[in-house]
């Protein structure tokens, strides 16, 4: 369903344009081979059917992961808050569909002893695809 791809593109554009996320060195729709910290990646999410009798729909567990190599997680906390706020204002109209609901699910921040700080912001997004008439 192309609406899911449209959603990814819309989120990349929306987060990239948000002034509160100007600290981010990039917003990627897949793991970047080399990227400067901090950066955001749109993770793979669980996609399930949310169709009605008359319209094709999808429910997407949409995860934005943030990576930062700072000494303390303060910047990552700030960025996860900014991503959550930005997602709430995501335009509801997509190129080939529309967002019916967008619900915040959870944030999580963790650090691997050998790696950077990782942060997760997850939403449940329900989309209906535009119908051709």
């Amino acid at each position: 369903m192309s609406a899911v791809m449209d959603l990814q593109k819309a989120v990349v554009a929306h987060l990239s344009a948000d002034p509160a996320l100007a600290e981010l060195m990039g917003v990627y729709d897949g793991p970047p081979p080399r990227a400067a910290f901090p950066y955001a990646v749109l993770g793979d999410g669980l996609v399930t059917d949310w169709s009605t009798k008359t319209e094709a729909g999808r429910e997407v567990r949409f995860a934005v992961t943030l990576w930062d190599d700072g000494e303390v997680p303060a910047r990552l906390h700030r960025l996860t808050d900014a991503v959550e706020a930005a997602m709430a204002t995501l335009p509801r109209t997509l190129a080939d569909g529309r967002i019916i609901s967008l619900i915040f699910l959870r944030t999580l921040i963790a650090r691997d002893p050998a790696g950077p700080w990782g942060g997760l912001v997850e939403h449940r997004i329900r989309i209906l695809q535009n119908q051709e008439i």
Partner: protein, 64 residues
């Protein structure tokens, strides 16, 4: 006054919870993760679990 209704609701809730616990312990966990049954639900354990919750979508979607 509502004791019977409360008792019935509690029995239904317990039955539903136990059915959910039974369903979850039958799920094949991601590699390196173990599922343990408790009275309240299930506990997932494994190395670097919090970190894996960030990077592993299958773990995030456990039980769905």
């Amino acid at each position: 006054m509502f004791e019977r209704i409360i008792g019935t609701a509690q029995a239904v809730a317990t039955q539903t919870r136990n059915a959910q616990i039974e369903r979850l312990v039958q799920v094949t966990p991601p590699p390196g993760i173990t599922i343990t049954r408790t009275e309240e639900g299930v506990v997932l354990s494994g190395q670097r679990l919090r970190r894996r919750l960030i990077t592993d979508p299958t773990l995030r979607s456990f039980g769905r």
